[in-house]
Symmetry: C2
Subunit: 330 residues, 2 copies
């Protein structure tokens, strides 16, 4: 007497037990068409009793959709695939996919990578694509076949919805906080030019500095702690009157903090330091880092869901709030 085992039971079994055809069982379980309440109820019960587990790949084969969502990481170099941020996105996406029977795969997309995108577009196993860190160039090259099942964590376009943190507002809040607490020589350590995600924070910074009649002072980093160190030393040399440094991300801010500490500069006494993203280590800096929150997991989940549910119309853009996290560094 074999106890009901999960995957061994197919739609056929459910249909038989419910006394309906496979087609009807499919209709109720996939919710695709109208079914009489009685049939619906019988199918539901049969499925429950048998521990029915739909087979996503059979479904995908029949519908012509895919079983994996691709995370496409856009960058000049594939090393960025193993960045901590990408890991958070991958984990959150993979967790979101789990109950759906889907999987996540991680691809590197070079900056001019229209060709890999075309391959993804035609790959029947690809359900949808989540772009990370994409550029306008790449957005413009999105194949027709991907529209409706591609979103961007970062900048979007007319066709591709953007699902991201509102880093413009987040940056503005930081700069206002710095100004409001009396800082007057506020330097912004930004990221590489090609990264579109630096634009809104940079614009917010510049606008506010202009509004209050202070000079915009920027240094280009590359999102690493090492670049934060370097930036801090440069700032100290170039603009000795600096009393605040705002870095585009926490890693860089922690680098700034380390360099300042080694130079004997008091934080926040002499110089205030602020990061962005509120990564777990931010609280561990010395002093603990003031920063702004970044709900990476919630964003990744929203992006994954958007890409998994196909829509005829473009998904709406979504901006998740970034909130100031006051700690001791500013």
């Amino acid at each position: 007497m074999p106890r009901p085992s999960y995957g061994a039971v197919t739609l056929q079994d459910v249909a038989r037990r419910a006394g309906v055809s496979r087609a009807t069982a499919s209709r109720v379980l996939a919710g695709s068409a109208a079914v009489s309440p009685e049939a619906r109820e019988r199918v539901r019960r049969a499925a429950g009793e048998l521990h029915y587990l739909p087979n996503p790949q059979a479904r995908a084969l029949a519908t012509g959709s895919g079983t994996r969502v691709v995370i496409g990481v856009v960058s000049p170099h594939p090393t960025m695939l193993f960045d901590a941020y990408v890991g958070r996105v991958a984990a959150a996406a993979a967790h979101t996919c789990a109950p759906l029977g889907l999987g996540v795969s991680l691809h590197w997309l070079p900056l001019d990578g229209a060709a890999p995108l075309r391959v993804l577009a035609e790959d029947r196993s690809v359900r949808g694509v989540v772009l990370l860190n994409t550029t306008e160039t790449l957005l413009a090259a999105i194949p027709q076949a991907l529209l409706g099942r591609v979103v961007s964590i970062g900048i979007g376009s007319a066709e591709v919805p953007s699902i991201d943190v509102d880093n413009g507002a987040g940056a503005a809040a930081i700069v206002r906080h710095l100004y409001g607490s009396g800082r007057r020589r506020i330097v912004f350590v930004t990221g590489p030019r090609w990264m579109p995600c630096i634009r809104r924070p940079l614009r917010a910074y510049s606008r506010i500095m202009q509004e209050v009649g202070l000079p915009a002072l920027t240094v280009t980093g590359d999102f690493t702690a090492a670049s934060g160190r370097a930036a801090a030393e440069l700032v100290l040399r170039r603009w000795p009157a600096t009393d605040a440094i705002f870095a585009i991300c926490d890693e860089t801010a922690l680098g700034v903090l380390a360099a300042l500490r080694e130079r004997g500069v008091d934080v926040p006494g002499d110089v205030a330091v602020v990061g962005f993203d509120d990564i777990p280590f931010a609280a561990l800096g010395s002093p603990p880092l003031t920063t702004s929150s970044h709900p990476v997991e919630r964003i990744a989940e929203a992006a994954t869901r958007a890409v998994v549910e196909p829509t005829r119309t473009r998904h709406p853009d979504r901006a998740f709030a970034s909130e100031l996290v006051l700690r001791r560094s500013a």
Copy 2:
């Protein structure tokens, strides 16, 4: 004249163009059976010319295998799913899966989670399972149906291969380094009892301390930086003569470092501090943290590959070397 588009072309098309049957085309492309060199060559060329892209879900449906590899994270609480370490594993696995057309999904497995394992075992969409941080209890409950396609990053068992860093040897090298550089009161900050991954390091530490005739002094942490802080304060109070602290992971060691710095204890002058794992932030501590390497991505890739290729025989265990990374904290 439509240019050949990728996924639109099926095995049928390739077979037709090569002038063979679908079966033969399948044989050469899947490498499953002997085919004449001429036929092989013709199929290969046809596939190339048509940009043939096999459909993994059709293949999975036909073979009864799955298209996703499950990462099962064993822990008392699901929050551990969003640990940085899990993110690294997820990203590496998802990257390994990409060229195979497979995906990764992330599941939480409670410590006593035999039931979820049974569901995974019967789920036809699951190709294999990578266990993270598993326990003996769970290993003993692995369903028959999963054998041959499950591996453990952590401890293994007679049926389940272990693919992990050799943290016993890594820990031994650290303790020897500490002793060799003159430290005599060496405290080990360990992790929770239930985590099997603390066992080999703990054993290595205890053995060496005994060999050299020194007391084994341990404090229990929980892999967080906060627990490192707490441990450091406890150590300072309980064993004021302590001249070295070895933490089970870098996060904890960084917490130790922070607490020591705040207390004005000189590192490494008064107390040496060593971590484990060589996470990116280790180099950023002040002073930069001495630790031992942990090739997480390579391990995750090996585990994923092992689980994707089904074998009749148990895969061999694999231990990746952990190497001492000397920086300034010890």
